[in-house]
C-alpha cells in the first residue's frame, strides 16, 4: 500500500526536523510512501464559514491528486491534517461545497471526497502497529518520562477527526510506550497552547502554554512531545522554557536508530 505524503509548508521551513525524522523513520519501518508531487498549501486554517469556498480549493487540489494514486493522504503537521481532513469531509458530505468547488476547479473528473486523510500517528497505530514498532526499536528510551502533548487540532472536532477520544486520548501515550519510554499522563495534555493568539495577545498565549507545562511538570514529565509546529513554537517560546519539547518523529527516529 502506497501513502501519498503531504509535508506542508512549515515542514519545509521552520519544522524541517519534524519532516526529516518522519521520513527516515518511515523508511526504517518499511512504509511505502511518496511525496505528493505538486502539493499546495493546505490553506493553513480551516475556514469555519459554511459558504467559504475559495480558501478550501488548494486542499481539494491536493486531495484530488492523491485520489489518482491510491487515495491515502499521509499528513504529519497537526494543522495541515486538521484542514485536509475537514475539507475532505466537506467534499464527502456537503453537496453545496462539492458543487461549487468542482465547478471552480473543473478537474478532469469531479472530486467527491474519495481520498482518505491519515495522520502519521494513525499510520503508526492502524497500519504499522505499535507492537511492530516496539519490535523494531533498537535504542529504547528507557526511563525517560515523557508527557504527550496533543493540543487541539488532532482531536477536535471529534465528529470529523475521529482521531481518538478527545477527552482521554491515549494514542501518543501508546506511542511513547512503544519506543520504550514512560508516558506521563497530565490533565492539560489536550488544552490549547495559545495557537495564533501569540501574535496578537502574547500574554494570553504565555498563560496557556505555561499552564500546559506546569501541569506536565507537576506529574513528573521530563519532556513533552508534539506533532504540531505551532504548539512546538508556543511551548518553547511562551511556556517558560522549563521543559524540553520535541517532535515525536525525532524520538521515533532515535529509538529506531536513524536520527543521524
Amino acid at each position: 500500500m502506497k501513502f501519498n505524503y503531504y509535508p506542508g509548508c512549515t515542514l519545509k521551513t521552520k519544522a524541517k526536523e519534524l519532516d526529516a525524522f518522519g521520513r527516515k523513520s518511515l523508511e526504517a519501518l518499511g512504509v511505502d510512501f511518496e511525496e505528493i508531487k505538486e502539493w499546495q498549501c493546505c490553506g493553513a486554517v480551516y475556514p469555519v464559514a459554511k459558504d467559504e469556498v475559495a480558501t478550501k480549493l488548494s486542499a481539494v487540489r491536493t486531495l484530488a491528486m492523491a485520489k489518482e494514486n491510491g487515495g491515502k493522504v499521509l499528513t504529519l503537521c497537526s494543522a495541515c491534517h486538521n484542514v485536509l481532513k475537514r475539507v475532505n469531509n466537506d467534499m464527502k458530505t456537503d453537496e453545496n461545497m462539492r458543487l461549487k468547488a468542482n465547478n471552480y476547479l473543473a478537474l478532469e473528473e469531479p472530486y467527491l471526497g474519495e481520498s482518505e486523510v491519515i495522520h502519521y500517528l494513525e499510520l503508526l497505530r492502524d497500519y504499522v502497529g505499535f507492537d511492530k514498532i516496539k519490535a523494531a526499536v533498537v535504542n529504547p528510551l528507557k526511563g525517560v518520562k515523557i508527557g504527550a502533548y496533543y493540543g487541539c487540532l488532532l482531536l477536535r472536532p471529534n465528529s470529523t477527526m475521529a482521531f481518538d477520544n478527545p477527552e482521554n486520548p491515549t494514542i501518543i501515550e501508546d506511542f511513547i510506550k512503544a519506543i520504550g519510554a514512560t508516558p506521563v499522563v497530565y490533565a492539560f495534555r489536550n488544552e490549547c497552547c495559545g495557537a495564533y493568539v501569540s501574535t496578537t495577545n502574547n500574554e494570553l498565549a504565555k498563560k496557556k502554554s505555561s499552564a500546559v507545562i506546569a501541569s506536565a511538570k507537576d506529574e513528573g514529565a521530563e519532556m513533552l512531545v508534539t506533532a504540531c509546529p505551532l504548539c512546538m513554537y508556543n511551548l518553547r517560546q511562551n511556556g517558560g522554557g522549563e521543559i524540553e519539547v520535541k517532535y515525536f518523529t525525532e524520538l521515533l527516529a532515535t529509538a529506531l536508530g536513524v536520527n543521524n
Partner: protein, 663 residues
C-alpha cells in the same frame, strides 16, 4: 366457499395521509372471495367495530381482514368484535399497513401499492383459515419476584397482601438493594433506612413471602401460569437456619481486608460479615476470596466461636426447582463505570467520588459515621463541587444517551444536606439543565437555590485536576460566558445509572426483550407499562427505565396488581395455534422434541394397520396442546414436513408468499 369482508382503517391520518385508503379498499374488493370492502376513520372505535359486526351478520361473512395497525396493538380487539358477531375469532387476519407501511414510507403511490399487497396477502391466508378453539390450562398460584430492592419488596408485599405466595430471589446476601445504601430521600428528607427497613422486616415476617438471598435464576421453563424455575442458592458457608446474626464471628475474623461493597468499597470488612446492621436475613456470609480457612485450610476461628455451630465450610451451591404462575423482574440498576470519563479524575484522585459513595459518606451508618470528610486525608471539605450528567445525555458514545432522571434531585438533596450540617461549606453544582418535575420537586430544588445558597452553574466541566492539595474544576459558565477554575476540596460525580448487568441473562432466560440500553421493554410504552411483551412476565422499577423511589414504588404496586389479576384466575385460555404432527409422515426422529422450548412434545408408540390384517408399531410425535405455545420451532425443524401449526400452516404461509410474489 369463504365469504370475506375487508375493512381498511385510516387511523385518523396516521395511515390515510400516506396510503390512499379508498384505493386500497376498492382494489381489495375485486379479490376472489371478498364480498364487501370498506374503509373507516377509526376501525378500533365502537363505530368501527360495529361496522365489522354488522357486516358479518348482513353479508354472512366467514372471515374478516382488517388493514390497520400492528396485530400486537389491536388483534385482540378485532377478534372480540368478530366473536361477538358469532364468527370464530381465528377467522380474522390483520394486515399491518401502519407500522409496516404508512409510518415508514413517504411516497403515497408506493405506500398504497404495498398496502394493497399486504391486504391481498392477508386475504390469501384467510382463505385457508379454519376455526380454532383455545383450550385451558391451570394457573399456579405463586409468584416469583427477581430482585429484592425497593421495587421487588413492594411488589412482593402487595402480592402477599392479596393472599398469594411470593418468593423473592435476590442475588446479593441481603434484600434492600440500592435504597438501603441511601442516606436521606427527596423531597421530604426522611431517612431511607427508616422507611425501607420496616418493609424489609415485613417481608421477612410475612408467612406468604419466602426470601432466597444470595441466589440467582438458573433456568426458566414453561409459560404464563405455569413457569418452572431453577434457582441457584449460592454457598454462603453459613447455615441460614442456625445463624442468629449475633456477629461474634465477624469480630473474631482475622482477615479484615475485603472491600465493603455495601459502603461502595470506601472501607473494608472481615471475611465473614453481615452486610449491614439491618440486613434481611440477618445472617453472616463468608467471602471465599478472603477467608483463610477456605483459601488455605488454616484458621477456622469463626467456627470455633459460633455459639450455634452455624458455620459450614463445606457448603455447596444448591439448585432448587419451583413453580410459579407469574414472574416479576425487579433487577434494578447500578451507576455506570466511569472508565470513559477520566477527565473528571475519578480513578486518579481519591477525593473525586460518585454520588452513591457520597451517600455512604453522609450516612450515619456509613464508613465515616455520617461525618463529612474527604477520603484522601479525612479533612472536612470547605468547597464541594458537584458535576451532574456524568455519562447521562451523552451523545459522544462514552456514556448513555438517556437522562438518568434521579440525579438533579439527589444532587440538590446532597447540596442541601451539606449546607444544613456544615453551613460554612461552599457548594457548587454544574448542570446542563435542572429537571425537577414532580410533586414538591421543583419547590425542593428552589429551596436549594434560594434558602440554602447553593451555587448552581449552567455549563459543563472540561476536566478536574490537582493543584497542590486541592482539586481544580475547570468548567464553563454558559450564562456569564466565562471559563471557571474552581478550587475544590472534593468533587462529587452524578454518574449515570444503567440496568444491573444481571438483567441480560435474566431477559434471555425469560425470552423477554431488552432495548439498546439494556432496559427491559414494556408491552406498550403508554398503555402496558408494567407488562413485558412475554405473557406472565412483569416489570418493576428501574429495570424498565430510570425511576426515583416514589415512581418505583408506584410501578411496583401496579405490577403487583397485574400479577394478582393473573393469579386470581383459576384457568387461563391457552393459545389456540398449537402444533400437531401428521402421524403418517412422522418418522419419529425426535428433532422436534429437542427444539421445543416448552416441553410440549413427547413420543408415543402407536399401532398402524398396514392392510391385509397386518399391523406395525411406529414411534410418532404427540403434542400436548395445553403446553404448546405455538412458537413454530418444531414446524421448521421437522425434516419430513409432518409438523404443522394450526393457523400458520405451511400451506397458509406459502399462500402468503405467493400473494406477495404475484405482483
Amino acid at each position: 366457499m369463504q365469504r370475506i369482508g375487508v375493512f381498511v382503517c385510516w387511523c385518523g391520518s396516521n395511515i390515510s395521509a400516506t396510503v390512499d385508503v379508498e384505493k386500497v379498499s376498492a382494489v381489495l374488493a375485486l379479490e376472489p372471495n371478498v364480498v364487501i370492502s370498506q374503509n373507516y376513520q377509526y376501525m378500533c372505535s365502537e363505530n368501527g367495530q360495529a361496522l365489522i359486526r354488522n357486516s358479518i351478520k348482513e353479508h354472512n361473512l366467514t372471515g374478516v381482514v382488517v388493514c390497520s395497525c400492528s396485530p400486537r396493538m389491536h388483534e385482540a380487539t378485532f377478534r372480540r368484535a368478530c366473536e361477538s358477531a358469532g364468527l370464530n375469532p381465528y377467522m380474522l387476519e390483520v394486515a399491518n399497513i401502519r407500522e409496516q407501511v404508512s409510518w415508514i414510507h413517504k411516497d403515497i403511490e408506493e405506500a398504497t401499492e404495498k398496502a394493497i399487497i399486504l391486504g391481498r396477502t392477508a386475504i390469501a391466508k384467510l382463505r385457508l383459515n379454519t376455526p380454532l378453539t383455545a383450550g385451558e390450562s391451570p394457573v399456579i398460584k405463586r409468584a416469583l419476584v427477581i430482585g429484592g430492592g425497593i421495587a421487588g419488596i413492594q411488589s412482593a408485599l402487595d402480592i402477599a397482601e392479596a393472599g398469594y405466595e411470593v418468593d423473592i430471589v435476590e442475588k446479593s446476601p441481603t434484600i434492600g438493594g440500592n435504597m438501603a445504601k441511601l442516606d436521606k430521600t427527596f423531597p421530604t428528607l426522611d431517612c431511607a433506612a427508616c422507611i425501607l427497613t420496616p418493609k424489609m422486616v415485613d417481608c421477612a415476617q410475612n408467612e406468604k413471602i419466602d426470601i432466597l438471598t444470595f441466589s440467582e435464576i438458573e433456568s426458566v421453563k414453561g409459560f404464563v401460569g405455569n413457569f418452572k424455575v431453577g434457582i441457584r442458592k449460592k454457598a454462603r458457608f453459613v447455615n441460614e437456619k442456625l445463624c442468629t446474626g449475633c456477629g461474634v464471628c465477624t469480630q473474631k475474623c482475622p482477615s479484615k481486608r475485603g472491600l465493603n461493597d455495601f459502603n461502595m468499597n470506601l472501607n473494608t470488612r472481615p471475611a465473614i460479615y453481615i452486610p449491614f446492621a439491618q440486613a434481611i436475613p440477618n445472617v453472616a456470609i463468608i467471602d471465599p476470596e478472603q477467608c483463610l480457612k477456605l483459601k488455605n485450610g488454616k484458621c477456622g476461628l469463626c467456627a470455633m466461636q459460633c455459639p450455634t455451630k452455624a458455620i459450614d465450610y463445606t457448603q455447596q451451591d444448591e439448585i432448587v426447582e419451583r413453580e410459579y404462575g407469574a414472574i416479576v423482574v425487579a433487577t434494578g440498576y447500578k451507576p455506570i463505570s466511569l472508565e470513559n470519563f477520566n477527565e473528571y479524575g475519578y480513578s486518579t484522585y481519591k477525593d473525586v467520588v460518585t454520588s452513591l459513595e457520597f451517600e455512604r459518606i453522609m450516612n450515619a451508618a456509613g464508613p465515616t459515621s455520617g461525618h463529612l470528610e474527604r477520603p484522601s486525608d479525612h479533612k472536612q471539605p470547605k468547597v464541594i463541587t458537584f458535576i451532574q450528567c456524568v455519562g447521562s445525555r451523552d451523545t459522544s458514545g462514552c456514556g448513555k444517551p438517556y437522562c438518568s432522571k434521579i440525579c438533579c434531585m439527589y444532587t440538590a438533596k446532597h447540596a442541601m444536606l451539606v449546607r444544613e450540617k456544615y453551613p460554612d461549606t461552599q457548594v457548587n453544582i454544574f448542570y446542563i439543565d435542572v429537571r425537577t418535575p414532580g410533586k414538591n420537586y421543583d419547590e425542593f430544588y428552589r429551596r436549594a437555590v434560594e434558602q440554602y445558597g447553593v451555587n448552581y452553574i449552567k455549563g459543563m466541566v472540561g476536566k478536574v485536576y490537582k493543584e497542590g492539595d486541592n482539586l481544580v474544576v475547570q468548567g464553563s459558565d454558559l450564562i456569564n460566558n466565562e471559563q471557571l477554575l474552581i478550587k475544590s476540596d472534593m468533587v462529587v460525580l452524578a454518574a449515570a445509572i444503567e440496568p444491573d448487568p444481571s438483567v441480560r441473562k435474566i431477559a434471555t432466560l425469560l425470552t423477554t426483550s431488552i432495548d439498546t440500553n439494556n432496559f427491559l421493554t414494556e408491552a406498550h410504552a403508554k398503555l402496558k407499562p408494567v407488562e413485558s411483551p412475554t405473557a406472565g412476565i412483569f416489570l418493576s422499577g428501574v429495570c424498565q427505565g430510570p425511576k426515583d423511589i416514589p415512581e418505583t414504588v408506584s410501578q411496583a404496586s401496579a405490577c403487583a396488581a397485574k400479577v394478582i389479576g393473573l393469579l386470581a384466575k383459576d384457568k387461563l385460555k391457552c393459545n389456540a395455534s398449537t402444533a400437531g404432527a401428521d402421524e403418517m409422515l412422522c418418522t419419529g426422529c425426535s428433532l422436534c422434541e429437542n427444539v421445543c422450548p416448552y416441553g410440549a412434545i413427547t413420543y408415543i408408540d402407536k399401532e398402524f394397520r398396514l392392510g391385509g390384517g397386518r399391523t406395525e408399531v411406529r414411534r410418532v410425535a404427540s403434542v400436548n396442546p395445553a403446553v404448546c405455545q405455538g412458537c413454530g420451532a418444531c414446524t421448521v425443524t421437522c425434516p419430513s414436513g409432518a409438523m404443522d401449526l394450526k393457523g400458520f400452516s405451511t400451506k397458509q404461509i406459502m399462500a402468503e408468499v405467493d400473494a406477495i410474489c404475484k405482483n
